[in-house]
């Protein structure tokens, strides 16, 4: 079984001292999270190809780095860059740090000068050192017909041609062309500074000519007719007026082999997919200049999402345009109210809950806070609160109501149950409203319930607290019965996590599908109190357009395909 999270360094060595030094540098590399690294040093190999084959067969690692014993990997982020390059480009089979854009007729990489070479390297030639930049790579990588064997990294295993090359020359050129013939690309990536140092001493060329002839005979037609695949780019000029986000929409479909460039004049634009190109004077001429190396180009607008291949499609196909929120039917949004809930790094933004020290429940004054976000639910709020009254009456409990602008008497009903009212401006984010209740809670535990839910009975919850079971737990679930029709004929139950011991970090995340974020090792207690919920009943006209989850239905039924919608919702939901 191949291990997709493993990297194997493979080296044929005849000098233990050099090999040890090479491994020392490998041991200093940053390892991608979740990955493991192994090393295989083959001594006494008959040839480079046979040694590499032996090690390749021994290792189950997906990623393999074949290198010479006199190569020092000095780029500490090498493995991070390597896995990123391979993951983003499954069409790339192999890369190296030095390669050739073409070969001389006789197959020799340097017989008619070095102008065909690309990549860069530090070299030590005993009597002098060199910082060789053969040709700076444009874009994230350039295709090479062959790589120099000083370092070759692969993400697929192809056998080395030990049947053809039983020496120490041309095994690298052969393997490069084997990858091309198998349908994979061979590239040299862009490097800010050289990734390797090569301690070149004097080249041993005794058998070079013999293996060159074998190479020319075997691969002559391949390398003479080789053409680099056309360089493709999908680009956009980021227009902040066309989006609420501070990053370009990630493509739902990612084009294989294309670079994604986003040009912007703004500083704070980030993306994991798009390469952000900051240009002070953002105009078409500057963008054209930056794209000069690309033979095929497609432009996306800021409000467009790629959902299919672009280069095989007619103009306009393969993308969807995201409608502005206020263009969606039945949904009345104030765009200014919508605030990002995650930073550009993906960290969720919330304010930590205060710490209390003087109360009798682990420093907190009360045992339980019941938090209810409300908004004009006069028809259901009394039912909701009357069913939690036993908790308020029989426990050291309080009711915190977060009102997002009720005008129909809902707040007055809440006050009649002794609620503390917190006013909160609705920002189309259910989690933010729940977090506001959490922040104002004085209880040691928190229970969240919606204004359109009600408990059938709360006996199990009462028992949980009165028996002291809560002391052994961090969280608890109760059953939420979601009705899909107002008649109550169709519903589904799920244990929903809405109760937890309050910590400074306890919070909800997600605009629509809000969920309580608790530590992974939190000990949970499953309770069987049932809360009825008609909020998703789709034959209730009152539910239409009431909250942001309606967008999903609108998009789903009116605007786009499911795929398009998911792209949009994903971005709203996570950002």
């Amino acid at each position: 079984m191949r291990n997709d999270h493993k990297i194997c360094f493979i080296m044929c060595a005849n000098d233990a001292f050099l090999a040890k030094e090479c491994l020392l540098y490998i041991s200093q590399l940053e390892v991608p999270e979740g990955f493991s690294v192994e090393q295989k040093v083959i001594y006494g190999a008959q040839s480079m190809a046979s040694g590499y084959n032996k090690a390749m067969k021994q290792s189950d690692a997906k990623y393999k780095v074949y290198l010479h014993q006199d190569v020092l990997l000095i780029h500490r982020a090498f493995l991070l860059d390597m896995t990123a390059l391979f993951c983003a480009n499954p069409q790339i089979g192999m890369f190296g740090v030095v390669g050739n854009k073409s070969l001389a007729k006789d197959g020799c990489p340097w017989s008619d000068g070095m102008h065909r070479r690309i990549g860069e390297i530090y070299s030590d030639l005993i009597f002098k050192k060199e910082y060789s930049v053969f040709s700076k790579i444009s874009g994230s990588y350039e295709h090479a017909v062959v790589l120099d064997g000083l370092l070759m990294a692969t993400q697929y295993d192809l056998p080395w041609r030990e049947d053809l090359f039983q020496g120490w020359d041309f095994y690298d050129c052969s393997q490069s062309l084997e990858f091309w013939k198998a349908g994979y690309q061979v590239v040299v990536p862009s490097m800010k500074t050289p990734w390797c140092l090569h301690d070149n001493d004097i080249l041993h060329m005794e058998h070079y000519e013999k293996w060159r002839k074998v190479f020319e005979r075997t691969y002559g037609n391949d390398y003479k007719n080789w053409e680099a695949p056309k360089k493709k780019v999908i680009f956009q000029i980021f227009d902040p007026k066309k989006t609420l986000l501070d990053f370009p929409y990630p493509p739902v479909y990612k084009e294989e082999g294309a670079d994604y460039l986003c040009f912007t004049g703004q500083k704070e634009v980030h993306s994991r997919v798009w390469k952000i190109c900051k240009i002070d004077r953002l105009d078409r001429a500057a963008v054209s200049l930056a794209l000069a190396d690309y033979e095929e180009q497609k432009e996306l607008q800021t409000d467009q999402i790629q959902i299919a291949p672009l280069f095989a499609q007619k103009s306009g196909e393969g993308v969807v345009t995201v409608p502005a929120l206020d263009q969606l039917p039945d949904v009345k949004f104030d765009q200014r109210q919508i605030k990002p809930t995650a930073s550009h790094t993906g960290a969720y933004c919330y304010k930590k809950n205060p710490k209390y020290t003087k109360g009798k429940y682990n420093g907190r004054q009360l045992l339980l806070t019941i938090g209810v976000p409300v908004s004009n639910q006069i028809e259901t709020i009394d039912r909701c609160l009357s069913h939690i009254a036993p908790l308020l009456n029989q426990l050291d409990a309080e009711l915190v109501v977060v009102d997002t602008g009720s005008t129909d008497g809902t707040v007055e009903v809440c006050r009649s149950y002794g609620a503390r009212i917190v006013t909160f401006a609705w920002c189309d984010n259910m989690s933010a409203a729940r977090n506001e209740a959490l922040y104002h809670a004085r209880g040691a535990w928190f229970l969240s319930i919606d204004d359109d839910e009600w408990f059938e009975n709360v006996d199990d919850i009462l028992g949980f607290f009165q028996s002291g079971t809560y002391k052994k737990c961090d969280t608890a679930t109760y059953i939420q019965r979601n009705y899909q029709m107002m008649s109550g004929s169709i519903f589904h139950d799920n244990h929903t996590l809405r109760m937890a011991r309050i910590t400074p970090e306890l919070h909800f995340e997600g605009r629509i599908h809000d969920s309580l974020i608790v530590p992974a090792k939190a000990k949970n207690c499953q309770l069987f109190s049932v809360a009825h919920h008609y909020g998703f009943a789709n034959d209730d006209q009152k539910n239409r357009g009431r909250n942001i989850s309606e967008i999903y239905l609108c998009c789903f039924t009116i605007c786009m395909s499911i795929r398009k919608s998911c792209g949009i919702i994903f971005n709203w939901q996570t950002n």
């Binding site: 050099l18 020392l24 540098y25 020092l72 030590d124 005993i126 050192k129 910082y131 301690d199 004097i202």
Partner: protein, 147 residues
């Protein structure tokens, strides 16, 4: 007898000048002989500076000398590319054990090291007994090298 064997005999006899002449009469030098050529240059400086030890005190074997040079170069490279201090300090240990002169270290620094000023600063700290000599080297690098 090959030319290399003849050079080896001169070295064993302590006839360094004769070895040098024989070396320079060669049309092609392999890696070991290239290193020997460098070490002879260092030897001349060591003699001129009346160094306590010369590069040929420990060994006159061409293969061993080449290995000695490569070891030193690799140990200095650890300073060049900022490996952890523990790894860097092996240079100090090795130099003490093999009585390596400051002149040989300076030669490697100037010829084979990429971040020369950075490494020179580290040598000053690592070899306080040679701080004055490396200080002069650093002054030269300040005029010639960018950081």
């Amino acid at each position: 007898m090959s030319e290399t064997e003849q050079i080896q005999i001169f070295l064993r006899q302590g006839e360094i000048i004769k070895a040098e002449k024989a070396l320079h009469s060669l049309q092609h030098m392999d890696a070991d002989l290239l290193i020997l050529d460098i070490l002879i240059q260092v030897f001349h400086v060591e003699i001129a500076q009346d160094a306590a030890n010369t590069v040929f005190d420990d060994s006159t074997d061409i293969k061993e000398l080449a290995k000695h040079f490569i070891t030193l170069k690799l140990l200095m490279r650890r300073l060049d590319f900022e490996l952890p201090e523990e790894e860097q300090n092996e240079l100090r240990t090795y130099c003490s054990l093999h009585h390596v002169s400051a002149y040989l270290l300076a030669k490697i620094l100037l010829t084979n090291i990429f971040h020369r000023k950075q490494v020179c600063r580290r040598l000053i700290a690592m070899f306080p007994e040679h701080a004055a000599y490396f200080g002069q080297t650093y002054k030269y690098l300040e005029e010639t090298d960018e950081e």
